[in-house]
Symmetry: C2
Subunit: 150 residues, 2 copies
Amino acid sequence: MLTRIDHIGIACTDLDATAAFYRTTYGFEVFHTEVNEEQGVREAMLRINGTDDGGASWIQLLQPLDADSPVGKWLAKNGEGVHHIAFGTADVEADAETARQAGVRVLYDTPRAGSMGSRITFLHPKDCHGVLTELVTAVPPKAVEGASGH
Amino acid sequence: MLTRIDHIGIACTDLDATAAFYRTTYGFEVFHTEVNEEQGVREAMLRINGTDDGGASWIQLLQPLDADSPVGKWLAKNGEGVHHIAFGTADVEADAETARQAGVRVLYDTPRAGSMGSRITFLHPKDCHGVLTELVTAVPPKAVEGASGH
């Protein structure tokens, strides 16, 4: 069951400048940064609020590692902006299967590594009214606190 | 101070079909619908989770009332997808002023009427790394419960 808006993924050309914009304009601080080679991105996670399922909602800023990566190609076509949205669940496999049963193409056969140790998959935007949609099972917050270093 | 992701605004061509997709695929139910003539949209609010500031996070589905409305023009150019994101605050005027001071163009001189009695303004996407960004002061949840009828 999907129990929260986990994050909004925003593609940008300069991660540091975009993070500085979010800090200066809104007061949102970077909680965590990492490179995800498989996804081809450098990313910054800004924690916005806690959620009533015990998780949190984030802004995820994404800078492509190179122009040929999926986010790199997306940026070249669309310019900076919202790249995807993500819903949080305790069981990403179960919710991916529910989506499959509803006729939605799931991009991975099994979940892959997302931000901060999470496990993720994506649903095809053409099957989701134009919205690239991610499903996320996050690592429990206490484990993230122990592991985070930014 | 911005204290939550209030909603993700998604533009669609058929509000009922898109709401049915969100119900079937994810289990998200429509909590409220309304027409906002000033914004030129018919909209459906899907409540996703509660937030630790006492508010909630929503998916907002938007169908333009006509092709010449801002969302109608946006849809013709971009197709269905994420139209804007919104952050919640107890004081939309104060946060709009903070954004102004940071050099961001605020689209309204004073806040206008948003979903479910909220007061809203928008920040220019060209000043926000490509993201049309709304600031929202919601009506307290108990008042919304009393007023909602869908």
